[in-house]
Every structure is written in C-alpha cells, then in structure tokens.
Amino acid sequence: MTDIDTPVNNGVNTEALLGAREALSDAPEAAEFTWRANCSWVGGTFSQTTVDGFSGLGQEHHHKTPYSFDADHPECFASEDRGATPPEILLAALASCLTAGVASVAQHRQIQLRSVTATVEGKMNVLGILGADPDIRNGFNDVTVQFDIDADASREDIQAIVAQSQKRSAVYDMVTNPTRVAVEVS
C-alpha cells in the first residue's frame, strides 16, 4: 500500500475533471467540442496532417503549438515510408487514449502508478484494401491491447482500472462502435 505520507500523484488533476463534469452537466452546450485536423497531400502516398484549433466550452482554442503527423506507406507497398501508416496512427491514438484513461482512473482511485506500457496490435488482411477479395474487410479484424502496469494495487484493481479506462475512452468507443462519417468535396 502507498505510504500515508506520500499522496498519490500520477500527474492527473482529477479534481478539475470532476469539477468540469459537474459544471458541464448543468451547461450541456459548453460540453459540445469539435476537433479538427488539416491534411495536405505532399506526393505519392505521403501526406502531412496538422492539428491546431478546436472548439469547446463555448469558444475557440489552440494547442500551445500546432502538432503534425507524417503518414505514408512502407516500402513493401512500393511507397517511400516517409511516415507511419494511417492504421498505425489509429493504433497510437487508441493506445494513448487508453493510457491517459488508466492514469486518470488510477489517480481517482488513489492508486500510484510506477510504469504503464501498452503494446497494441491490429490484424489486417490486405486482400481487402487491395480489392482482391470482396469478403475481406479493409480494416482491422482484431485489435489487441496488452497493458503492462506496475502499480501499488492488486491484479483485480489493475484490471478494473483498465476496464474503466475502456469504458471512458473516446478512441476505444470510435473503434468499437459504428460512427457516421460524411466525406464531401468542396
């Protein structure tokens, strides 16, 4: 168990999050967020995506600095491999979303984390994207996330934290549930 003198600190301000939950329940319009990304084709299968502005809490926000993501396909797909594949970026999004959840839930439950690593795998049969077999889907058939967590807690408590982080994860929800996507041309 954690020493009584050392407060649990996973670096997550759960009081602020709980406060926000309370405040936003009473002001549901402020809870409407829009996340944005801008993608530019560079050449070949290489593109660069930048995120900067988003809206929420009734106003516009900017990240401290814009962040960008390079995406490409690897050489075995006859590309130049100038960035991660988009499915890998999705795996990164899933893993980081769940990991943030683990830290927050552990903080809320007063459990000190020492280390958290996640190994994510997505299995895909590329006959789908190649259009070679109509019975095979394009996307992942199966995604597995393997968490390795060192914390002051029982195995059951750690399992419960991981389960709760899935329950509250935006990316996990988007990957496991159908989402309406409208793609238009301007």
């Binding site: 995604v143 389960a163 329950k167």
Partner: protein
C-alpha cells in the same frame, strides 16, 4: 374551473405499492388524502408485465408498512397474479382511499398548492405525491426506426409470451433482468435467440447457500443512501441485475444463456441497410460485470466474517463470463431470417401530465431523496430514491416513513410560507 373541484390536503397519484404505502403513512398521521389510480390497484403488475414473470426479490422481502408477506413460502418469488393480490389485499387492509379508473391528466401549481385535473373531476390540494411508477414507458433507441419492415418489433412492456411470436429467430436487445429472462424463455420455446449485451449487472441467484438479496440486505448494500453512494446518477440508472425468480433458484447469467444456445453479441450500435452492427466492446462490458460481481461477493464474505455468521456454504467464485471469440459484429436481418426484435432497453416514467417546472433537460424529475424542487411536491417509487432498497417493493417501508414525516412538517409549517 374550480367550481366542481374537491379540496383535500394531499393527492397521491398512483395505487401501486409505493402510493399505497404513502397512503398508510398519511392515515397514521391523520392527514386526509385521496389516491388517484388510472386503472385498478396494482395496475402495472396486472397489465404491463409478461405472463411468466415472477418477482426477482424473495417473498420475505415483500414487506410494506403495516403488513407483509404472510404465506408459507418466504424464500419463493411471487407470480404477477400473486403480486396483484398481495398489493390489493394491502390496499384493503389499510383502507386506502383509492379512486380507481381515474387518470390524472394535468398537475399545475396554483395559490401555493396544486390543481390536479383528471378525467373524473378536479382536486385542489396543498401537496401532491407522485407515485405513478418508474416504468411507464418502454425505452426504444432511435435506431429502431431503421429496422426492416419484415421484422416485428416488440417492447418488453408489450411482450407477453413466446406464443405470440412467429417461429423465426429473435434478437433480444438489452441484458438486464428483463432481457436475459426473455432471451431464456424464448430460447426454451425452441426459437433461435441472439442477445445484444451492453453494460450489465451480473449476480448469482444464490451465494453460499443464501439468496443474493439476503446478502445485500444483511451486508448493508440495500441501505446505502442516495447521498452516500459514489455517483447517484449512475446508481439510479444501473440496469436491473441479471436475476430470475424460479422455484429451483437458478442463476441466469450470460454463461447460462450460452449453455442454452443463445448467441451473445455486443451492444447494438447501428442498423443500416438491413444489417445490425454490434459493438466490439463486449469483452470489456463482461469483464466489468465479472469484476463488480466479485467485489460484491468479497464484500459479502468480509461482512460474514466480521459478523461471525456460521452455517454458510463455502466461499466460491464463479466462472468468468465466456465471451464468444470472435463475437459477431454484424447480423443481417434477411440472412439470419430474424422475425422479431425485442427491445428490452429499459423503462422510464411518464411525466407528460406534470405541468410544474421540475424536470431536468433529460425529462427526469429533479428531487432530493423524493423531495421535489417545488414546495409540497413529492415523488416515491423511483430507483435509489433514498437508498438502494428504494428500487424494490421493500424500499417503500422507510421511504414512506421519511417522506410522510417531511410532508407533515410541510403542512404544519403552513403551506403559504
């Protein structure tokens, strides 16, 4: 309009067990009142439940103020006719002033009190107790409108028996007590059944040779108060536990359904072009339910040890929920020849007649332990109204005591203050 109105201190809306318990408490306190009921006493149990339903709470727990279960099977579970008889007998025992076949159509505030309009006259009163039930309307998700026309849609409220369904396979959506009970019964009727499972509450019927409600009662689970539980909104919207009341006291978890040949799929996410899509989160919702069940059993064990209770069976843990791997993510209504969807997706109260601004943005009544945010207005019979026990018939005993005490003080302080 008030020319023909009847003046009375208190109007109770609804003659289910909760309204009747309040009636008894007000009579004890010599507070004159009337109970308005759109049907007959125990209308919900007579007209809104499926044929085979038995309570999932044991008979000994059907205890109302001033009267309780007196039959010879305290550990059994009442059938619907038995529940209706039990409540009707109760109404007679306490001489409840019930006006049956009287539907309340509007309640509005006026002159520091309330005007209660019905299809049989108007009552003007100082205080109103809403006891019209927690389950007046069956919830049906918006995606239901995408269901192909070849499929018959039935809510759990309209469902009566498998005999009313055609012989084709059935999709049951929802895995609370209602969903698992209907999946079980329809599967036993010989039809193929798929059940769509979101978050659910798993519990064994019996643990260490005692009913799970004995444990929850003794270990203090049912007495956790609304202002003590971690997250009252969550507690109030928790699905009912996967339990069934049968003479053999069997459990009805997802493993039992799988053993019967029922197919388990994830939460229904979308229906489009004749295909239902299910969430890939099935393994996680099952894991959460297993973990929570084990925490509950641990709490029981800890309590038993602390209280020094002997003559219990050995402490055990149950098999983890077997999640089909891979679980099906899609179902084509045509290819699977689905004949019926049963929406077992919960119930909600109907407050369409309530013309007092006390509902939140989701149409839920704002209240603190049954004391509604308008003077003299009370509600009873809702999930975790004042404590976990409030969700069950048994909760009315203390809830009615506390709310009637509050109501009496309100009347005595002088309504106009």
């Amino acid at each position: 309009m008030t020319a023909s109105a009847t003046r009375i201190p208190v109007v109770i809306i609804g003659a289910g067990h909760a309204g009747l318990a309040m009636s008894h408490r007000l009579s004890e306190r010599s507070i004159s009142h009337v109970v308005l009921e759109r049907g007959e006493v125990a209308n919900s149990w007579r007209t809104e439940r499926w044929d085979s339903l038995c309570l999932l709470t044991p008979n000994w727990q059907s205890q109302l103020p001033g009267s309780g279960y007196s039959g010879d099977d305290p550990n059994g579970y009442m059938s619907m006719p038995e529940v209706a008889d039990f409540i009707t007998t109760y109404a007679a025992t306490i001489s409840a002033p019930v006006n049956s076949l009287t539907t309340v159509t509007r309640v509005s505030a006026a002159n520091g009190g309330y005007v209660v309009e019905t299809d049989r006259g108007i009552w003007v009163c100082d205080s109103v107790v809403i006891a019209s039930g927690a389950a007046n309307i069956a919830n049906v998700p918006a995606i239901a409108s995408e269901t192909p026309a070849s499929v018959t849609q039935v809510t759990a409220m309209a469902y009566r028996s498998p005999n009313d369904l055609d012989d084709r396979p059935v999709l049951v959506v929802g895995a609370s007590a209602t969903g698992v009970q209907l999946a079980d019964e329809i599967s036993r009727s010989g039809r193929a059944v798929t059940i769509s499972v979101g978050e659910h509450v798993r519990m064994p019927r019996c643990y260490r040779e005692r009913d799970v409600f004995w444990w929850m009662d003794k270990a203090g689970v049912l007495d956790e108060r609304h202002d003590e539980v971690d997250d009252v909104v969550r507690a109030r919207h928790l699905p009912s536990p996967q339990l069934i009341g049968t003479p053999d006291h069997r459990s009805i978890d997802l493993n039992a359904l799988t053993d019967r040949g029922v197919e388990i799929v994830g939460r229904l996410g979308r229906i489009s072009d004749g295909v239902a899509q299910f969430s890939g989160s099935l393994a996680n919702v099952c894991m959460m339910a297993d973990l929570k069940m084990n925490r509950l059993l641990q709490r029981f064990d800890d309590w038993a040890e602390g209280a020094g209770v002997a003559d219990l069976g050995p402490s055990t843990r149950f098999d983890a929920t077997r999640v089909p791997s891979p679980a099906r993510l899609e179902l084509s209504f045509a290819e699977d020849d689905i004949g019926t969807i049963i929406w077992a997706t919960g119930y909600r109260p109907d407050y369409s007649w309530l013309d007092v601004p006390v509902l939140d943005r989701k149409g839920r009544l704002r209240h603190d332990g049954g004391v509604v945010g308008a003077p003299g207005l009370y509600v009873t019979g809702l999930n975790v109204l004042r404590r976990r026990r409030s969700s069950f018939i048994n909760g009315a005993e203390r809830d009615s005591e506390e709310l009637s005490s509050h109501l009496q003080q309100y009347l005595e302080r002088g309504v106009s203050n």
